[in-house]
Amino acid sequence: MNRKVTAWEKVEIARNPKRKTALDYIENIFDDFIELHGDRNFKDDKAMVCGLARIGEQNFTIIAEQKGRTTKENIERNFGMPNPESYRKAIRFMKQAEKFGRPVITFIDTKGAYPGIGAEERGQGEAIAKSMFEMAKLRVPIIAIVIGEGSSGGALAIGVANKVFMLENAIYSILSPEGYSSILWKDANRFKEAAEKMKLTAKDLYDLKVIDKVIKEPNGDSEESFSKIVCSLKKEIKKVINEMSTLTTKEIVQERYKKFRNMGEFINLQEE
């Protein structure tokens, strides 16, 4: 049974409603966590969970896309599809993290930013752009963890981090394989083929240098394998924060800038 899991199978795993959500990780990785609400402007969008957490003596700011664990919760949380208020709430917590010198940990798990009338009226595009803008210049370390579905700008909006981790069976892509195949090939039924082509698995993204570390997922969805994932995430978070503790704020920003500045190698025609 050690057959390689196909890209499409990973999509299905990442989307499985039983898959652990951001709050499951947050509650288990950190020794203490308190959720805080609202964007101080329009509302508290429950597709994004923000708050404060601690491992030992180290405090963190948490920003997390949250899918529901039940149907009722999913409706409350808009199936983890953020409206602009989510990103504005995230920005508020980023700035607070900077003020109080707390590293930021983000959890990415969304089908995408919500495509709705209200979302457009309240500037979905602007909210995503501004979130990335604030992250790019934030003077504290940021770690982003792709735990499930990382789809489109709605995922990247909280993904401009110094280090990006990704669970082995999570996916990260420009949009869903279904959307990709219907836009590019005008055929919504070629989604499996699209999943293979899109390079959306953790390994593909590591090879493309889009992410920095693949977090292994032991076989099966037992509590034991979950606690192994929690354990490695905790270890990696501590390690990165420890490594970065000697950096100046300028270096922290510069390191992150360089990472995204170099996204997308190109062919230089002048040198040929």
């Binding site: 930013a113 495509p115 979905q124 892509s173 420009i174 997308g264 190109f266 002048q270």
Partner: protein
């Protein structure tokens, strides 16, 4: 003969469902708004605006440059790059090649330095005729390079956007261009330099959700369609049809997301005026 051409074009328009693009097919062009068959020269001489009803056609980079930049002052940046085709799609390089031949453009954006009534600026102009102005590695790199040039030379930055969003053919790497261009803009911001973003029809997706929405001043052409999610996606998601005027420049103005709608004929003067307003700021001591 003429009738033949018109017929052909009509069929083509219906089939491709791509309104407004004035790709030179014969001497005639149909206005997407009033359906009038127009003499191409007449449209061209009228700032690519329908002489019959005032409808804005999408503009080619060359024409946009003529409209905005002083004659003979535009110098394209000497940056000659190509995509490595990160998803290794078989037909993508062929598609790029044929588009280059058809449009005479290298890519969906042209970037350089030029003057606006004598004021030196860094200017980027996108073109929807090239793969819907989508942003892949080349577009992302050229825009980022332009932002860096503006910082280095301490010049105002003007970007004319028109785009369907991040380029599907380059997958996740296209998505990352949103972060790359946005991060570059933080440097411009910290250098205290002016960025005027001009939104033209259509501006969507990953371009709206990155540099296009981050101008100190955001202008738009009348009736330009601007948004994050595409209208079909929204309709499918919410299961109802969209209100009249949804995602137009006027809609964005009403909801507070752009500073001003400016008619094409007034764009150059308005941008010039705004540049002047941002010069000679007082520096107060700490």
């Amino acid at each position: 003969m003429i009738v033949d051409k018109i017929k052909k074009q009509e069929v083509k328009n219906v089939k491709n469902k791509k309104p407004n693009i004035d790709i030179p097919v014969g001497k005639w062009i149909k206005c997407d708004n009033c359906k009038e068959i127009l003499y191409k020269e007449a449209v061209r001489d009228n700032l690519s605006i329908c002489p019959n009803c005032g409808h804005y056609f999408r503009m080619h980079i060359g024409k946009r440059l003529n409209l905005i930049i002083d004659d003979g002052t535009y110098k394209r940046f000497d940056i000659n790059i190509d995509t490595p085709n990160p998803l290794q799609l078989e037909d993508y390089p062929r598609k790029l090649k044929s588009l280059r031949e058809k449009t005479g453009l290298e890519e969906a954006v042209s970037c350089g330095i030029g003057n606006i009534n004598g004021e030196k600026v860094v200017i980027c102009i996108m073109d929807s005729a090239f793969l819907m102005g989508s942003m892949g590695i080349v577009v992302g790199e050229k825009i980022t390079y332009s932002i860096e040039q503006a910082v280095q030379k301490r010049l105002p930055l003007i970007i004319f956007s028109t785009s369907g969003g991040a380029r599907m053919q380059e997958g996740i790497i296209s998505l990352m261009q949103m972060a790359k261009t946005t991060a570059a803009l933080t440097k411009l911001h910290e250098a205290g330099l002016l960025y005027i973003s001009v939104l033209t029809d259509p501006t969507y997706g990953g371009v709206t959700a990155s540099f296009a929405s981050l101008g100190d001043i955001i202008l738009a052409e009348p009736k330009a369609m601007i948004g994050f999610a595409g209208q079909r996606v929204i309709e499918q998601t919410i299961g109802e049809s969209l209100p009249e005027g949804f995602q137009t420049a006027e809609f964005l103005l009403e909801h507070g997301f752009i500073d001003k709608i400016v008619e094409r004929k007034d764009l150059k003067e308005t941008i010039y005026k705004l540049i002047k307003f941002h010069k000679g700021g007082l520096t107060y001591s700490e």
